[in-house]
């Protein structure tokens, strides 16, 4: 039984037809990755799911509940959190304040404390830097903060937009390790990545997106061995 159900979604930027009928199903506890080149519509898909963009056609539902009738700021209350592209941290607020903003949708003080502890166990670096202004963190730390902030809302599904962007290889591995850890605690993850090899190495299943359409959908293992994918996205001949 799939938990997130995206069906035949068409999203436009003005007159530009960005998503041309996309369908994605994600089961509870899965890591699903969305790979594709620049302008394929990966970020648009995430923004559509999180309500920041409204599709002209199609449906998005979570646990059978129609998400399209909610406004963007209400979606997080339904259990969907996003780690935005380029991290989108609040540069002038401290690490703690950033995390508290992540729990904006949760009003219980106790829950906030618990979630903060959980984030700090996951990212001890953030605990060390908790009074520091977020804008002065390194790229890797900012990615940790963005991820931690999304987790503060206690999401059922975590949407991650290019977490490896601009990071050194060693940090990319660290981030991907944490994604797996987060997944093991029961959070479902939809991961958008250009670094297809890394993404497929931790995902259960994957979709390949090309100019607003899904061209292949398969298990991660099969995608890694698919000649088209290998040629186009994994840099193999």
């Amino acid at each position: 039984m799939s938990i997130l159900n995206v069906e035949n979604v068409h999203t436009y930027y003005g007159n530009i037809h960005a998503l041309k009928g996309i369908s994605i199903k994600i089961d509870k506890g899965e890591i699903v990755t969305l790979i594709g080149g620049n302008g394929a519509g990966k970020t648009t898909t995430l923004r559509t799911i999180s309500g920041l963009l409204k599709p002209r056609e199609g449906s998005v539902s979570l646990d059978g509940q129609d998400l399209l009738k909610f406004k963007a700021h209400e979606i997080v209350y339904k259990g969907i959190s996003m780690v935005p592209e380029g991290r989108g941290i609040f540069a002038r607020l401290s690490v703690t304040e950033n995390l508290e903003m992540g729990a904006y949708s949760r009003t219980s003080k106790q829950e906030l404390q618990q979630n903060m502890e959980r984030v700090f166990t996951l990212f001890p670096r953030l605990k060390e830097r908790r009074t520091q202004v977020a804008g002065t963190l390194s790229g890797g730390e900012q990615q940790m903060l963005a991820t931690g902030r999304a987790l503060m809302a206690n999401p059922t599904i975590l949407l991650m937009d290019e977490p490896s962007m601009g990071l050194a290889p060693v940090l990319v591995e660290l981030i991907f390790d944490t994604i797996q850890q987060i997944n093991k605690t029961g959070t479902t993850i939809l991961l958008v990545e250009q670094n297809a090899l890394m993404a497929l190495s931790i995902a259960h299943r994957g979709y390949v997106l090309q100019t607003g359409e899904i061209v292949i959908s398969d298990t991660a293992e099969n995608l890694k061995n698919n000649p088209t994918v290998q040629k186009a996205y994994l840099g193999m001949e």
């Binding site: 979606i75 997080v76 935005p84 609040f90 401290s94 304040e97 903003m101 904006y104 202004v133 002065t136």
Partner: protein, 575 residues
């Protein structure tokens, strides 16, 4: 790259400062300032400005030398300072010599003979050699000040700043002290002359500050440690004592200062109210509003229309009832401005709000709406606040009689303004620490992310506009009763610009910063009548210098301080 010779660098510094000094002469500042004394019969403000220029030439040259030679070399530093001051003096001397031959007044209106007399210390063109000599000495002193050890330099700098401050405000202190009776009056005449400090006063202030400063640098740590060692109750009662003292001074001030100072403080308090309002929209939520004066106008007109006994008075209700209504009306107009501009961001928002401010001013002053708002004649005869019962309204142009205490004078309005400012500052502080405050700051940083985290953008932004407008409306309401009449012409764009500037100078998003900014940009120019002619010149110069030297503002919020000085803190920790 080959490094510059330090002497050549000093010459350049001297020439540049000389040109700046000529500029100051040509705008007329030196001549106007020379009517005021710093120390009576010894040095005028005009001479002081020139001396300060030469002194800083020496200081700058000395600092350049240190950085060129990569360490302090006393002899080179002093020589550089001397050379720089000398050249500044030479440039000024050149001005005098040229001015004696050619009629510069044809182009520069302020190049008068009085100016030349000031420059040559009334000794005539023949004695012009005195200028470079003074310059060299001042430059030498400037260079020497850099070489002083910290322990000496700080008290001397503080003492100099304090003396200059006291000299600037000597007139005010003199009047206030003379009002206090014969003992104080004698002291006042001993310390302050007619136009500046007396020599005795200068020495007392200078040495006094040095003594206090030295004492503090020796004992300050112990005192601080003593305070932190105090038990919690002790620290609390200490704080209570300090607050009580401040309250006592604040309550007594208008009684001793007279109406002028009271009015200046009211003006500052009104700008604090507006500043705190804009600090919510701009400082917290990051929404630049350049038409902020509109809400001030709306608050003022509401109180005017509701309480006036003049021709345009509508309800003749007491001030105390009218103020909450004015605040609500301002809030509603905040929402009215907010709704159409919700989707606009950044620069476009600034332009849209600029338009809003102008529309409100033009409408209020228009002939079209003159039957309601009085047009260019404005609304006059605003009823003064009354503690007690108001007599009945008899007819137009006859004020209602106040059975009780009428708060009519600026000294009385002072209390209303200061109490309002304190309450609003508290409200602003609580708002910043609230969930709503967090949401505002999140919007300021990144709207999309804030929305994705669950912030309702429409609601949160509208609240920012409405609360900001409410604070400004309160300011306008008090302004209306202070002046007793309102005219659309006092609601100029410059008021909005003043509010934005005071927030920036004080420190964006910081509540104490708003107060400091209002005192610096509104209060000081009001008090310094001599400066009023050059208000905008100094205003602009202050803004530029502030942005270069202290971009976070005079009293920045914690976050900005951390952001801008993070590297220094880090370095400090490692060192």
């Amino acid at each position: 790259m080959k490094k510059e010779n330090f002497l050549w660098s000093a010459v350049k510094t001297g020439l540049i400062v000389g040109v700046v000094a000529i500029f100051i002469c040509f705008v007329g500042m030196v001549e106007v300032f020379s009517k005021r004394d710093v120390i009576e019969k010894l040095i005028t403000l005009g001479q002081f400005v020139l001396l300060a220029a030469m002194f800083s030439a020496g200081f700058i040259a000395s600092r350049h030398t240190s950085s060129l030679l990569e360490k302090n070399k006393p002899v080179s530093n002093l020589v550089a300072g001397l050379v720089a001051g000398l050249f500044t003096g030479l440039v000024l001397a050149l001005l005098v010599v040229v001015g004696a031959e050619v009629n510069l007044r044809a182009v520069f209106l302020n190049a008068t003979t009085t100016l030349y007399d000031v420059l040559t210390l009334d000794k005539g063109v023949g004695n012009v050699w005195i200028l470079p000599l003074i310059g060299a000495v001042a430059g030498l002193l400037g260079a020497a000040s850099l070489l002083l050890p910290q322990i000496l330099r700080r008290p001397i700098t503080q003492a100099l700043v304090f003396v200059i401050f006291m000299a600037f405000f000597s007139g005010l202190f003199r009047v206030v002290m003379i009002n206090q009776g014969s003992d104080m009056s004698k002291a006042a005449k001993y310390l302050f002359g007619q136009t500046g400090l007396t020599l005795e006063g200068t020495l007392i202030f200078f040495l006094g500050v040095i003594a206090v400063s030295m004492l503090w640098s020796y004992k300050g740590k112990d005192i601080q440690a003593g305070v932190t060692r105090l038990p919690k109750a002790g620290r609390l009662s200490l704080r209570v004592i300090v607050y009580a003292l401040i309250a006592y001074v604040a309550l007594g001030l208008p009684q001793v200062s007279g109406p002028f100072i009271a009015q200046v403080i009211v003006t500052v308090a009104l700008f604090v109210l507006m500043g705190l309002g804009l600090n919510i929209t701009l400082g917290f939520a990051g929404l630049l509003d350049l038409g902020f004066v509109a809400f001030y106008a709306i608050g003022a007109y509401t109180v005017g229309l509701l309480t006036s006994y003049g021709a345009f008075g509508l309800q003749h209700i007491p001030f105390w009832v009218a103020v909450p209504i004015a605040v609500l009306v301002a809030m509603a107009s905040g929402a009215m401005l907010g709704l159409p501009v919700l989707g606009i961001r950044g620069d476009y928002l600034a332009i849209a709000t600029l338009g809003f401010g102008e529309i409100v001013r033009l409408l209020a002053g228009s002939d079209f709406l003159a039957p309601f708002f009085g047009g260019p004649q404005g609304i006059i005869g605003i009823q003064k606040p009354c503690l007690g019962t108001l007599g009945p309204f008899i007819r137009v142009d006859v004020p209602r009689v106040c059975n009780g205490l009428e708060l009519g004078k600026p000294q009385d309005i002072y209390y209303i303004a200061v109490v309002s400012a304190v309450i609003i500052a508290f409200v602003a502080w609580r708002l910043r620490e609230s969930r709503l405050g967090r949401a505002w700051m999140a919007i300021r940083e990144d709207e999309d992310v804030a929305e994705a985290l669950g912030v309702n953008l429409i609601q949160t932004k509208l609240l920012a506009y409405m609360l900001g407008a409410a604070f400004a409306g309160l300011g306008g309401a008090i302004f209306a009763t202070l002046i007793g009449s309102i005219f659309a012409t006092s609601m100029q764009l410059i008021v909005s610009i003043n509010v934005v500037s005071l927030i920036i100078v004080g420190g964006m998003g910081s509540i104490p910063g708003v107060i400091v900014g209002a005192i610096a940009l509104i209060g000081l120019p009001e008090l310094l009548r001599e400066v009023s002619e050059f208000r905008f010149l100094l205003y602009g110069a202050t803004l530029i210098i502030m942005m270069l030297a202290k971009p976070e503002g005079l009293w920045p919020s914690q976050a900005t301080r951390r952001e801008l000085h993070h590297t220094e803190v880090e370095a400090g920790v490692k060192a």
